[in-house]
Amino acid sequence: MPARVIQSNPTPFKKVDLDLITLDIIENAMRNARTEMDAVLFRTAMSPGIREQHDAFPMIANADGKMVVGQFGSFFHGFQQGYDGDIEEGDIFLTNDPYFCNGAISHLNDWLTMMPIYIDGRIVAWAAMFGHMTDIGGKVPGSLPTDAAQIFEEGIQIPPTKIYRNGELNEEILELILRNCRLPDWNRSDFNAIVAALRLAERRVVEMADRFGVDVLHNAMQEMLDRNKRAMQEILQMVIPEAPQYFEDFIDDDGLGMGPYKIACTMWREGKRVIFDFEGTDPQSISSVNFLLNEEMFKMFLGSFFINIFDPQILFNDGFYDLVDVRIPRGTILKPIRPAALSSRTHMLARIFDIMSGLLGQGSPDALCAAGFSDSPHFMYSGYDKEGEWYQLYQIGFGGVPGRPAGDGPDGHSLWPSFTNVPNEFLEAYFPLRIVRYETIADSGGPGLHRGGNGLSMGYQFLEPGEISIHDDRWLTHPWGVNGGQPGRRSNKLMIRRDGTQEWMESKCDRIKVEAGDTLYFNTWGGGGWGDPLKRDAERVALDTKRGLVTMDGAKRYGVVLNEDLSVDERATTGLRDRMATNRGEVKLFDTGGTMEDLKARCMADTHLEPPKQPIFQKWMQVRQPMKQAAE
């Protein structure tokens, strides 16, 4: 049964005429309020994941729960469908249960809080914020066990719960939750910080209502949604063809030696409506790499991609949702059935961006981006130090942003908004670690007219015995290049033990024992190249070489021959470029670096790892629902 909203004031909002200027002013004020929510959170949170890396996202929605400002779209639809209870003034809801809100958040580490904002007995708006908790219990430190078979192994599950009722904190429930976490102090202060951000949003909304009148505010939020819808409608008409386009990509393995898992998507337009159909996607995994994809979140990804290409000034919101229809078959890796494990969904989640690039770019190759750093690889390190104190690090890695129409991909950067790295001096001061290398990997960015960004090599030297976890991907499949651009180099992880022995580590593994003096080189992947590398300015290639971002050999992949002093050998370059242009044959739209069969056949030689085996899909997982899940 859906939630019941209790409002003492039944008066509907009045329809009022808005002048454009007022609308723009309210839009600005909303934007500022959102920025402010972030600022409060980052300053007062304690876990490095939130305070340094900014793995948390705010939102303000209108009375109906549609996101007016934010990043990941609205959670309210899913929440209101799943919550069987009353929504009242003074409530703040907490949940981390993806299955309870149709994947609005997608693993248990993300704590989502939601607060209705009441004015005179009516809900005027909603504020929400979710943040990634470093630990929520479960079988491994960091609560992201790749080999979990069920969600019960991944930590405490919190169905939508009134953590505040009538403005009062329910301390017993909070204590019960914290009792289940390895770093309760961090969770507590991060939770406090999140609630402070919600309260701030509430104050701002109330101030806006005071200033402009509650009806004006209500209508303005609606108009902001409508405005966004009109803009998106034009973009969709312009960019998405009626004829179906198909694209597929993969995550390489599930941490249990099986893979790859395919994501398939077909896109077409019927009049004003655009359809994305994930028919053909592989069934859910028996490990935790499943990603419960919320249809609305997919729309948000889509919209943000377009907005950035066409008009980044547009205030981004949910207004255009009716124009898009997303169909995800149940039981697939994008719509797993409870109690499938979900914690390591990060690879699949980010890979969605590559899928979008591949789909949308076919219609307009000039707007096509190469495959990028579509992941947030995790590194975790924990144990007891010499004083017997527990330490636990959870860190997100960065890599090569792809070559894009706009230019070269930045080296060692983030694909996600607002993320930043953890300074190495911070790591060394607070964890038993020495970071012996922190640089990007020459030649790892795919060659192209616009070079893909380089992946990052981070050398962790351990100063205390402990356990580590590694969660990464794209070790088997390449980040593909486009429009003649070549693929980026894949990721790998090399452990040099104290005695000098080398071990190539699996891309996804947990509870690996390390000793003081061991060093792990965590090497992420480069972005794919964009456009013809033979057309890249040879001087630019020479400069990249002088900077150590490309090697002399690497320059030859651009057809550029360099002299000893790294100046361009003009004659040799012209000759090499001519030969390469003649020999390469037709330039493909996508360059994936070979077929899956080739990649598997060369796997051991290329990566020092066994190729993954074909996944075993359990029988019940293969049952497809005849009816497609869609937002119809």
Partner: protein, 790 residues
């Protein structure tokens, strides 16, 4: 003089021009000419003598930096205690011998502000506090000539010899402009092995929202990677040397940089904030291998944790160092020709003063020197009017700077931002928004929303109204269309505002929005005001301050046009419009109190330390700062001390700064510090935690006495300003046409009451008083605007 004075954009740009030309001319030693014929000068009458304050001054041998915390000796290998080792940081250390105090009777100090069109000067006789002002045309080809012209002029007015001036205090934008125009030095960088790409990777941050990576293009680092090399060495996080420096490989690599045209070198090694010994060794090797090249090392410029920020800050220091050094040397030598032995002081970003030598060594501390001068001047002028709770609103051509002043003191913060360069250097906590007179209004096709800025028309082509070929509608054009900037106002300019061009530009977007031209123009003004309102909220409401407790002081080229409207939005009264921007900055420069501070990083949970230990540390810091001031001629009995403790809840990443006097600390100790922190935390973030407190930095601030300067007093009038009105005009406010009078500011008398709507013009700015508001002229020439109903 031109009407473009009203727009900081052009002011700014011509200032850049100045600078470039001046740099081109360096060393030519052009002698000063006579004062220009149209120069204006005002002699002030003044209150009776008060006793003098001594002159500030600072000697700064940088070699002493770090003597209290970071190791100086080469071979310090001992590990340090984790918590206490984090480096001590002294600002420029004192010279060995105290400077001779100036003769109380004959001492004069001079504040100088060099603008694009005018150079403004303010002379203070220290014994009496009597002030003199002068305004002369700037000399863009070599601004020291204009400065010397002004000095001639002001000395003639005061009836003194230039040699009677003991010190010159100067706020400058030369450091900022070097960054903005990308005209800095070719910088080489030495990092620790494995960290060559610290600037290339930065913080891995991609701006924009979800999908922002699609359009983000990163700019190249200011120290190019091809000029970056790695030293084979390693320092641990506790200041212990893990691997000593391999000098041989360093020499080999430095040899490759010879002949590369390097103009400045930077050393930033990992964990150098805990121990600067290796950086100092590297510097010595560089000085040997690349003689004559200035070397900045991170453990001296900013000994703080976080390798990217520390490296970037030190590199920016290197980047601007040659240009700033040349500028200061040139000015100093020109001043010396006329006034042998005069001390030159440069206003720092944090509102303190740096000696010429200190300014040359760490110019990264000057990036906000210009705005800091404005804020200091605003504080001083507002104080004359009896206000010390202030919101400052400095609106120029491309951007607007706002700050909150509590009890007459500007807040400072450990971060300075210029364009996309962010450094760790203390500056007056000024927030900048990309909204100014030159901001362009446009209507994107997709959303048909009205947007203003952050793109700016700059000085060239500038707003359409300037008739220099600009066609884009700007905020200035909207002001012209609405009549707030009168076309035929006596702006003293040789350039007329082109009203038709302004109307044509605004009407293009009026069409796109299907609105009348004037309504559109008012929309542009409302939107840009809203953007600036956001910045003012950031420093007030968002920090838990109620704007109704503050007066709003509007300055800068365009500030006085918008200040009344911002006062309405903020509900901050009165709105204070001080005399023109140039004069204001000169006041700020000349009245700045000499100040020194000493700080050290001291990371301790409160249960690991004691009141006595912290008091000891603070007293040590206080002694250092006090000696420095003493050495500069400020005796102990004129000094006041304030302690600052940066702290947080153990585990948090940020710190809040708690101010406490030595007496209060002696009484309340850490318990009192915790109490104040909890209260601030709650005010800022709505909650407090039952968690352990942890100190991060300790700091002692010592300052000299306040300036004795007295503001220029206006003659009293009858209260009726009509004598100053010289024209009638039409203005469009709140959707309606009104008739308004235009007043000449210099003709206004103390006590005059101007009823809005009205326009007040002066040489370098124009003030708009809205309808239903009244502007009162106070004793020192401020216009105080309040709602008529007040």
């Amino acid at each position: 003089m031109t009407s473009s004075e009203n727009d900081l954009t052009s002011w700014f740009d011509s200032k850049l021009d100045d600078l470039q030309k001046q740099i081109d001319k360096l060393g030519k030693g052009d002698a000063a000419g006579a004062a220009e014929p149209d120069a204006t000068a005002v002699q002030t009458t003044s209150a009776p003598a008060v006793r003098t304050s001594t002159r500030p001054g600072r000697g700064t041998p940088t070699s002493e930096v770090g003597r209290n915390g970071s190791a100086v000796a080469d071979d310090v290998h001992e590990a340090r205690n984790a918590a206490s080792a984090l480096a001590a940081h002294r600002r420029p250390a004192p010279t060995a011998t105290p400077r001779r105090r100036l003769d109380l009777g004959g001492g004069y100090q001079l504040g100088v502000d060099v603008g694009g069109t005018f150079t403004d000067l303010l002379l203070i006789e220290e014994a009496t506090g009597q002030t003199f002002t002068a305004k002369v045309p700037s000399t863009p080809d070599d601004s020291s000539r204009g400065v010397l012209n002004g000095i001639e002029r002001i000395c003639a007015i005061a009836g003194i010899e230039p040699s009677a001036i003991g010190s010159v205090m100067h706020g400058t934008t030369v450091a900022t402009n070097t960054v903005l125009t990308g005209s800095g030095a070719r910088v080489g960088l030495v990092t620790t092995k494995g960290y060559k790409q610290t600037l290339q990777i930065a913080r891995s941050y991609v701006p924009g929202g979800l999908g922002g990576w699609v359009i983000f293009n990163k700019t190249d680092p200011l120290a190019p990677l091809e000029l970056t090399l790695e030293a084979d060495e390693r320092m641990g996080a506790r200041g212990e040397i893990v691997d000593p420096l391999n000098e041989e490989t360093l020499r080999r690599d430095l040899r490759k940089l010879q002949g590369e045209g390097i103009e400045a070198m930077t050393v930033s090694l990992l964990n150098a904030y805990t121990n600067g010994a290796t950086e100092q060794r590297v510097r010595r090797v560089i000085e040997e291998m690349l003689p004559g090249i200035p070397v900045s090392i991170s453990s001296e410029v900013v000994p703080e944790m976080y390798e990217y920020e520390r490296t970037e800050t030190t590199v920016v220091n290197s980047y601007i160092r040659p240009v700033v050094s040349k500028y200061i040397e040139n000015l100093k030598s020109e001043l010396d020709r006329r006034m042998n032995g005069v001390q030159l002081h440069i206003l720092r970003s944090d509102g303190g003063l740096a000696s010429a030598e200190a300014a040359k060594a760490t110019p990264v501390n000057l990036l906000m020197s210009g705005p800091a001068g404005g804020v200091s001047g605003a504080i001083w002028m507002a104080k004359q009017a009896g206000f010390d709770q202030l919101l400052t609103f400095d609106m120029g051509g491309t951007s607007t700077d706002v700050a909150l002043i509590q009890d007459g003191v500007a807040q400072t913060r450990r971060e300075t931002r210029v364009a996309d360069v962010t450094v760790r250097a203390s500056s007056v906590d000024v927030r900048t928004v990309g909204a100014g007179g030159g901001s362009i209004a446009y209507v994107p096709e997709l959303t048909r929303a009205l947007r203003v800025g952050p793109q700016s028309a700059g000085a060239e082509p500038g707003p359409a109204a300037y008739g220099k070929g600009g066609g884009e509608p700007t905020v200035t054009d909207a002001n012209v269309v609405l009549g707030y900037l009168p076309a035929n106002a006596r702006l003293g300019g040789d350039m007329k505002l082109d009203v038709e061009a302004a109307e044509a530009a605004v009407s293009r977007i009026a069409k796109a929005m299907d609105l009348p031209v004037k309504a559109t123009a008012e929309g542009i003004i409302n939107i840009v005001n809203e953007n600036m309102f956001g910045a003012l909220r950031l420093v007030s409401v968002e920090k838990g301050f109620d704007p109704r407790d503050f007066a709003l002081i509007g300055f800068g080229g365009a500030g006085p046009l918008h200040a009344n409207a911002l006062g309405k939005l903020m509900n901050s009264w009165p709105v204070i419009i001080p005399p023109g921007p140039g004069v204001l900055c000169a006041y700020g420069d000349a009245t700045t109190r000499v100040r020194d501070e000493a700080s050290r990083t001291f990371v301790r949970r409160f249960d690991e330390t004691s009141d006595a230990e912290v008091a000891d540390e603070l007293e040590g810091l206080m002694r250092q700062a006090a000696e420095a001031l003493n050495a500069e001629g400020v005796p102990r009995n004129e000094q006041t001390t304030l302690y600052q403790i940066d702290l947080r809840y153990h585990g948090q990443g940020m710190q809040l700064t708690v101010d406490i006097t030595p007496e209060e600390f002696a009484q309340g100790g850490l318990r009192e510090v915790s109490r104040r922190f909890d209260a601030m935390h709650e005010q800022l973030f709505t909650f407090r935690l039952d968690a352990m407190h942890e100190s991060y930095n300790l700091r002692a601030l010592v300052q000299g006495r306040e300036s004795s300067a007295k503001a220029h007093q206006l003659d009293h009038g009858t209260g009726d300003p009509s004598g100053a009105a010289y024209e009638q005009t039409g203005v469009y406010v709140d959707g309606r046409e009104h008739t308004a009078k235009i007043f000449d500011r210099l003709s206004l008398k103390a006590g005059d009451r101007i009823t809005g709507p009205a326009v007040v013009t002066e040489m370098d700015s124009t003030t708009m008083i809205l309808n239903d508001h009244i502007g009162k002229v106070d004793e020192v020439g401020n216009i105080l605007i309040t709602p008529a109903s007040h």
